[in-house]
């Protein structure tokens, strides 16, 4: 054994052990989390892992993502080159090429050489981006775009590539290596004049530089945001195969705990998520609460969970208690209550995260603790909670008033075995004076198309959406069980709703309660009726310029972007114009997640921000919505902006009703 080999073997052994130990420590921290089954359906999981981790689907959704895509694949390929390098250090003279046919060996040399240039280029682009034109969302109150950590990592990669080239170039100049490395050869040409002792020196220094930086890099990974290099791929494998935004059920029995107040109450996957965050800032960029000056930043929530886990985890693992509270003030590692209550559960964060982190459900888990174990929530919610429990609607209006809007339609009670569709009117559709018009419009459309439908009338209960998003799972659970029993008793198989919140709750949340029926949002049913020619349009609905605002619970939570647009196009003869932020990137109206029932204390108003976005050229005459909450928020926003008499808000059903009148 040479001295060189002996020293390297020793260093390698120490750093490999230290690396493995760090990984083990981190995984042990993850294991203190509550159990959650993310092991089913391996085929589906592999598929997800392939498209999100290897094909970088979400990463590529933004232009800059291409740089990451290249770097990722360069890394994957160079993993082989670095493996060869390490083995060569341990077993002098080891060459991968020796085990391969000559052509393949040369091909690999060529590939590694080119890929290293690409990697170096990507690093320079990344460095320039962070230093000279950082997007606003890279930084926040706990980190900067050009943070020491980010720069160190980039510098390490750049050093690795440079050392790699110098080493190969020196070897080529020494005549030890073939000419299948064009970039290295070009550098070798520059070294030509040097005496061979100098070349050997260059080779030696480069080799050791490469070796040391490589081992350092490896050891740095688990201790930095670059942990994601190790965790992102498995995190995509363990993605939520169901609706990631549908919160899990809780069991209500003596001795149970509810929600999360200490980090070990999160599931292991929540904790694994926190170690996977790349700090890319995309969720921060889209979050409506963050954008309007609320103290909520989904990225910081994930970061706080990680900081809290690292701080409290070791003690909690040994059965002790943590020292850093998870809920409290706004310091790193702690989430403040106002942040928890600021979330509109719009799902922008979960649907943009390139590594499939589920931020929003983590916020709801904190709410669950506050509501159910502490009864600690914004004052305004007390009335809501009591009205819901007492009268099954947010306003506390007598259930006998539920059918008032349909006075002129006669008796429209759902008849089991006779009515095809249940029209689940929803609380807003039944009680809110503006949204009652939408109920009438939808009823008119259903009648015009000859659909057989009925309602539950005063037997209809609230679906419980707001309660679930607000963390009042106990009351939601009761309401869900009552509703599901009612649906089963009435033998309901098809439901149409005019509210995306009812739609989503009946369709996705109630599935957890064994209700598997066809649930359609009115945009979907109207689209079907138009397509099948069952609904005959008699004239063009004249609305002037239309702009369409996506509802989060229809769009992002249920991937329904096309139907409402198709309905508007059919009714008016033209496609609606779009907000700058639309579809997956849409911007919430501000009312989801129970925010409808709360005051907006800090920052600017979300609905105002949204209507301002609508007021661009050509100015819209009609702002179209597909959700009762959006209706209220957009109308209020336009009023606040002083343009309510210029732009009106209409539901897609109202627009369609005017095409059949």
């Amino acid at each position: 054994m040479t001295l060189h080999q002996a020293i390297f073997t020793a260093i390698f052994a120490v750093s490999a052990l230290s690396f493995l130990f760090s990984c083990y420590q981190r995984l042990q921290l993850v294991s203190i989390g509550a159990p959650e089954n993310r092991f089913d359906n391996p085929a589906g999981r592999l598929l997800g892992m392939f498209s999100y981790a290897f094909a970088q689907k979400r990463v590529l959704a933004r232009a800059y993502g291409f740089n990451h895509f290249l770097l990722f694949w360069a890394f994957m390929l160079l993993l082989v080159a670095n493996g060869e390098f390490l083995l060569e250090g341990l077993i002098p003279g080891f060459r991968l090429a020796a085990f391969l046919p000559a052509a393949l060996g040369h091909g690999l040399e060529l590939l590694f050489d080119i890929v290293s240039v690409v990697a170096l280029g990507c690093v320079l682009v990344a460095l320039a981006r962070r230093l000279f034109f950082p997007p606003e969302y890279l930084g926040n109150d706990y980190t900067r775009p050009a943070s020491g950590e980010a720069l160190l990592i980039l510098a390490m990669i750049a050093a690795l590539m440079s050392a790699f080239f110098l080493l190969n170039a020196a070897n080529i100049a020494l005549g030890l290596d073939g000419s299948w490395r064009p970039v290295s050869s070009a550098i070798a040409a520059l070294l030509k004049g040097l005496p061979s002792s100098a070349l050997e020196g260059v080779a030696g220094v480069s080799w050791w530089l490469h070796a040391l930086v490589l081992l350092l890099f490896m050891n740095f990974l688990p201790r930095s945001k670059h942990m994601h290099i190790l965790t992102a791929i498995p995190n995509c494998y363990f993605k939520n195969l169901a609706q990631p935004n549908t919160q899990p059920r809780e069991t209500f029995e003596k001795g149970e705990r509810y929600g999360v107040s200490s980090v070990e109450q999160y599931s292991w996957k929540d904790l694994f998520d926190s170690l996977t965050c790349t700090e890319c800032g995309r969720c921060q960029d889209l979050c409506p609460a963050h954008n309007t000056g609320k103290p909520l930043n989904p990225r910081k929530i994930v970061h706080d969970i990680k900081v809290n886990l690292l701080k409290n985890g070791p003690a909690l693992k040994d059965g002790g208690t943590g020292i850093l509270p998870l809920i409290g003030d706004a310091r790193e590692g702690t989430v403040c209550e106002e942040a928890i209550w600021s979330c509109t559960t719009c799902g922008a964060c979960t649907s943009v995260c390139p590594v499939l982190i589920e931020q929003m459900p983590k916020i709801v888990k904190l709410r669950r603790h506050l509501v159910q174990e502490k009864a600690q929530f914004p004052e305004e919610l007390l009335n809501l909670f009591e009205n819901m429990e007492q009268r099954s609607n947010p306003w506390g209006i007598a259930p006998s008033e539920r059918t008032k809007w349909s006075g002129q339609l006669g008796d429209r009670t759902f008849k089991p075995g006779e009515s095809e569709y249940l029209f689940f009117v929803g609380c807003a559709g039944a009680f809110d004076s503006r949204n009652k018009h939408v109920s009438v419009a939808l009823a008119t459309i259903l009648d015009a198309a000859g659909v057989s439908w009925g309602m539950l009338g005063k037997e209809e209960l609230c679906c419980g959406d707001s309660l679930r998003r607000l963390g009042n799972e106990f009351v939601f659970d009761k309401m869900a069980r009552e509703n599901v029993a009612l649906f089963k008793e009435k033998k309901i198989t098809k439901v149409v709703t005019q509210c995306p919140h009812c739609f989503n709750t009946l369709k996705n949340d109630y599935r957890q309660y064994g209700l598997e029926i066809e649930v359609l949002h009115h945009s979907q049913l109207i689209e079907q009726l138009v397509e099948s020619n069952q609904l005959k349009l008699t004239k063009q609905s004249r609305q002037g310029n239309i702009i369409f605002h996506d509802s989060c619970y229809l769009g992002r939570h249920n991937d329904t972007y096309k139907a409402p647009r198709a309905v508007l196009k059919a009714a008016t003869g033209q496609s609606p114009s779009e907000f700058e932020r639309n579809q997956e990137n849409g911007f919430c109206c501000g009312a989801g997640g129970g925010r409808m029932w709360m005051e907006e204390q800090s920052g600017t108003r979300i609905n105002l921000e949204r209507v301002k976005e609508a007021m661009k050229q050509p100015l819209p005459d009609t702002l179209c919505v597909s959700c009762p909450y959006c209706m209220t928020m957009m109308e209020d926003g336009l009023k606040d902006l002083g343009v309510a008499d210029v732009v009106r808000v209409k539901d897609i059903a109202e627009v369609m009703a005017e095409a059949i009148a």
Partner: protein
């Protein structure tokens, strides 16, 4: 020291209708709630428990289904809930109601001295505001009505100082314990039950005291012991409403029509 809250289960008045033929309440399918003022009475007893570690009892007279309301009190944290229920207690007016409640309070007082009895200012169905004062005079307790703030309690001197909310002014008064206090809504904000307590309350025993326990003369309680008779209940006639103006299509015109209308009826002064 024992702190008692008297709570009555009442029909949810937003949903109460009166049968136009029989002139009685249509109680079918109407949900019952805890009388809103009483939830403030209950809350105040719980606050004293939190602060001074006193024992709290919730007391209600009513039919057997009143158990549901008492269970809610348990979920909020009372130590004990007692239902006073007997066929012969039925149909009671304020006189008979306060008699039964007083008898129960006396019985409790024998086990542990009663310091404070909280009642609501009034109920939303009977509306008399007499039961609290009735209890106080029967038991010889100090009587503090319309309380919107407890200023202080002196356990050594056995006195309590409270603020009463009167029309246009407040009054701060002190009285010796034991005391009967009727409360107004401004007193506090009732708490929301936490889930572990709700689940706990499912198994809590709710004692039922019938007349074999209270041993009152059956002629002096319930319908028989009630000198008040309700001769007639009716909903006042309301004029048919009318829709004026052109709604959201002409908000300004509609608003001025409305103002004219209010002015013409002398309902607005300028």
């Amino acid at each position: 020291m024992l702190v008692i809250s008297c709570i009555k289960q009442v029909p949810d008045t937003t949903q109460v209708k009166i049968d136009p033929v029989t002139n009685t309440l249509i109680r079918d399918g109407i949900p019952f709630i805890i009388n809103p003022y009483d939830s403030h009475a209950l809350e105040e007893s719980l606050r004293l428990k939190d602060r001074y570690n006193v024992r709290t009892v919730a007391l209600s007279m009513g039919p057997p289904n009143t158990v549901a309301t008492l269970r809610k009190a348990c979920a909020l944290g009372v130590d004990e809930a007692i239902l006073l229920s007997d066929r012969c207690f039925g149909g009671a007016d304020t006189l008979a109601t306060s008699k039964v409640l007083s008898a129960a309070i006396e019985r409790l007082d024998k086990q542990e001295k009663v310091g404070i009895v909280f009642c609501g200012k009034q109920t939303i169905d009977g509306d008399t505001a007499q039961v609290g004062p009735g209890i106080a005079s029967r038991l010889g307790f100090s009587q503090l009505t319309l309380v919107d703030r407890i200023e202080s309690i002196d356990f050594l001197r056995k006195t309590i100082k409270v603020r009463r909310k009167l029309e246009g002014r407040h009054e701060i008064v002190e009285a010796p314990l034991p005391v009967m206090i009727t409360v107004v809504r401004e007193l506090n904000r009732p708490r929301y039950p936490i889930v572990p307590m709700r689940i706990e309350s499912q198994d809590m025993e709710i004692k039922v005291w019938d007349n074999s326990v209270l041993k009152l003369d059956a002629e002096t309680v319930g319908l028989k012991g009630s000198p008040t008779w309700v001769s007639k209940i009716f909903s006042p006639e309301r004029d048919q409403g009318e829709i004026i103006g052109n709604g959201i299509n002409d908000p300004i015109g509609t608003a001025s029509l409305l103002i004219d209308k209010l002015l013409s009826k002398d309902l607005l002064t300028i």
